[in-house]
């Protein structure tokens, strides 16, 4: 219902952007530019979904694409998510690279059978004869005061499904690079866009970004690679998507109290970058995993499990997690109780069996 989109500023109305040099860029505009650049680079990239045409999507991520590339390459579909995913499967089978938008996280559920039984399995079923180069973009997670069904952190459903590659950018820079990588990736990608970051800004040089995205040496390099978002020595905070800024804020606050926290931005949930994560935790000996989704059988659970499996002998304390509670996503006026907060993270760090505690 009740999309919580905002009107995009008129300065950002054109699809993509032609400005050069350093410029302030929103997360949303970075995605929009990545789509435009990908469409420009490869005529088989097409975009469809609900309201992605003239409206530009309820979050304006596809803004201007129909005007620039024509109705055949960016168009609205009838209102049916299974239909959208199912048609994407057929188009990907037949030479296209569909980049489809699910309007909100919970509205991707009608497509679940298509995603699990076909998108994820088709290459495997056919011994790689049928590849499905497609991207399923999902504006996801909360923190925007959305009403029910508009704030689900649904990543765990996808990461648990073998055959899917699952990416979640947390910075404007990554929004651009990772979406370019996702579209170029030979296998189906679930691309999770943290809604609450759409309006965050970074000052970036788009030409540099484009070069990085297109350079053979760096192209594709975001898939399967985590990044150390902040270096530290005492403990490792492991986060992704909407929780990365919260983890960074917690590290900042901890630093003020004399505790040095490393922050890892996982970025690529599947494939998971064990190397980067393990190296950090082996060094710090302590870890807290932070994620917005309910914790039970979640991505956070997986990270806790694999970190303790791989770093057991280096651990000074159990690996802990700060996640959403195991409850349906709350109504707007209650969501702040639910979301991982700086305080909750710091409390948890405090409990990591520090010798001086």
């Amino acid at each position: 219902m009740t999309d919580t989109a905002v009107r995009s500023g008129s300065a950002e109305k054109a699809a993509g952007t032609t400005k050069t040099g350093l410029q302030p860029l929103t997360f949303a505009k970075a995605l929009n530019t990545a789509l435009a650049d990908a469409m420009e680079a490869d005529p088989s990239v097409i975009i469809f979904g609900e309201d992605v045409g003239p409206l530009g999507g309820v979050f304006r991520i596809t803004d201007g694409l129909t005007a620039r590339f024509g109705e055949e390459r960016c168009f609205d579909t009838p209102l049916a998510e299974s239909g959208i995913m199912g048609m994407a499967v057929g188009m990907a089978m037949n030479g296209m690279i569909p980049v489809v938008e699910m309007q909100f996280d919970a509205f991707a559920y009608p497509a679940f059978e298509q995603v699990v039984s076909h998108v994820a399995k088709m290459p495997n079923r056919t011994k790689g004869k049928v590849k499905l180069p497609l991207v399923m973009r999902i504006p996801y997670a909360g923190g925007i005061g959305g009403v029910e069904h508009h704030c689900d952190s649904s990543e765990s459903y996808y990461v648990h499904t073998p055959g899917l590659t699952v990416l979640a950018p947390a910075t404007v820079r990554d929004a651009y690079l990772m979406l370019r990588d996702a579209i170029r990736f030979p296998d189906p990608v679930v691309f999770l866009e943290p809604k609450k970051l759409y309006w965050t800004k970074e000052t970036l040089d788009l030409d540099e970004l484009r070069k990085e995205a297109d350079d053979a040496a760096t192209a594709g390099s975001t898939v399967g690679r985590a990044v150390v978002a902040r270096s530290g020595t005492d403990a490792t905070l492991i986060a992704y998507g909407p929780s990365v800024p919260t983890a960074l804020a917690a590290a900042e606050a901890a630093a003020a109290e004399g505790r040095s926290l490393e922050v890892i931005d996982v970025r690529s949930l599947v494939p998971f970058d064990d190397e980067t994560v393990t190296a950090s935790v082996r060094r710090t000996g302590r870890a807290v995993v932070i994620a917005e989704a309910p914790g039970f059988a979640s991505v956070a659970a997986e990270i806790v499990a694999r970190v303790q499996e791989r770093c057991f002998n280096s651990l000074a304390a159990p690996v802990r997690r700060v996640t959403g509670f195991d409850i349906p996503y709350p109504a707007p006026k209650l969501e702040h109780f639910f979301l991982p907060s700086v305080d909750r993270i710091l409390d948890t760090v405090d409990e990591l069996q520090w010798e001086d505690a």
């Binding site: 209102l79 009608p110 009403v147 039970f296 195991d326 409850i327 109504a331 006026k333 909750r344």
Partner: protein, 388 residues
């Protein structure tokens, strides 16, 4: 031979069905019975004139007057809710401005023990059915997901995941039927929602189990930005009915009289064991999808303006006024009633709702799991430390 435009001469919700392909001297064929009228049924035209229809009688003056009052109150609810959003008292409001005839008809054709299954856009229908307005707006104010007891007025929670509620409606009707109860269920959805798989499954289940559900599609020509022509190329949405083996009918959704007559007949038929029916109401979304929407991106104001003369309120006012059923006095009384509802909304939404964080854990299960007990304790501890 051909299907004439006059297929309308035979379709009505009262007649028994015959297998397809039987010749006409043996009674109506399945096609005659299930295909909609050639044009949307209209009983009162845009200028307030009565249009005779053989099959759908005009409701009597008293019924129309009483429904007219609800129309005016409904419009006031839409206006007031929009204002409250602008004032920041609600996050969002999907207005039914222009669709009030559908809203009111949906509420008034039902008996007390019938069930209504509304969507997010059907606030006016839900309030018209009797539900406390503040309870209804809880969802949009954001203090909980649904703020009223569905059992009190036999009105389900307003559904957001499109078309999903149609199946719940079928289930409620099915349970009632198994118990031999005489309940009719009216299930609402929009034109966009008809594209969802659940729409299909709901209509098919209703037909196969022959349960008393009336499906009312408010075809307001848009699903957010997507116009009807990108949603379907069927001759009409009502033409979908025959594919399920139920009658379909189309009606001018801005004509309160026609809405009451056609919906009323479908409800009566369902109550009499006639099974489900599909009604498509032709109307228009006069305002943005919600306040967060920007319709200038996808439709011209001139398109919207064309619908102004078709407004459901003005034509009813003219019709009732011409018959002297609606006096100036009466108008004033009705305006007063509308104002009263509006002030209830204002007062209610201007007071901050009470928020209890412990509620987060209370209703997930009937009994909290040990996991939730731990998590509730963690939050309580945090809050007590903050408070301290």
């Amino acid at each position: 031979m051909t299907i004439s435009t006059g297929n309308s001469a035979n379709n009505q919700f009262g007649e028994s069905m015959k297998p397809t392909g039987r010749s006409s001297d043996q009674g109506p064929t399945a096609e005659e019975y299930m295909l909609p009228s050639a044009q949307p049924v209209q009983l009162v035209g845009p200028s307030g004139e009565h249009i005779h229809n053989d099959r759908y009688p005009l409701p009597d003056g008293e019924a129309l007057l009483s429904a007219y009052e609800k129309l005016v109150v409904g419009r006031r609810i839409n206006d007031q809710a929009n204002a409250l959003v602008r004032q920041g008292r609600m996050a969002v409001y999907p207005s039914s401005h222009g669709q009030e005839a559908c809203q009111v008809a949906a509420a008034v054709v039902l008996e007390k023990d019938d069930w209504l299954f509304p969507t997010y856009r059907d606030t006016v229908a839900v309030i018209t059915r009797g539900v406390d307005p503040l309870g209804v707006l809880t969802l949009l104010r954001g203090d909980w997901h649904s703020g009223y007891d569905p059992y009190e007025y036999k009105t389900a929670t307003q559904a957001t995941p499109l078309a999903t509620q149609l199946l719940h409606a079928v289930g409620v009707a099915h349970a009632a039927k198994l118990r031999g109860e005489n309940t009719v269920v009216l299930a609402l959805c929009g034109d966009g929602a008809t594209s969802e798989g659940d729409f299909h499954e709901a209509l098919n289940f209703a037909a196969v189990f022959h349960v008393p559900v009336v499906f009312l599609v408010q075809n307001n020509e848009y699903a957010i930005s997507v116009p009807l022509k990108h949603q379907t190329v069927a001759p009409s949405l009502a033409h979908k009915a025959i594919g399920y083996g139920m009658p379909g009918e189309r009606v001018d959704g801005n004509d309160l009289a026609a809405m009451l007559s056609v919906l009323g007949k479908a409800v009566d038929r369902a109550r009499d064991g006639g099974g489900p029916a599909l009604v498509e109401a032709h109307t228009y979304r006069m305002q943005a999808h919600t306040n967060a929407d920007d319709p200038s991106r996808y439709r011209a104001q001139s398109d919207v303006d064309e619908w102004v003369p078709k407004d459901p309120i003005t034509r009813m006012r003219t019709y009732l006024g011409n018959l002297n059923l609606l006096t100036a006095e009466e108008e004033q009384r009705i305006a007063g009633a509308a104002e009263e509802t509006a002030s209830t909304l204002r007062d209610g939404l201007n007071s901050e709702p009470e928020i209890n964080p412990a509620d987060l854990f209370e209703y997930v299960y009937t009994e909290k799991t040990s996991q939730l007990r731990e998590q509730a304790a963690l939050l309580a501890d945090e809050l007590s430390r903050e408070g301290a």
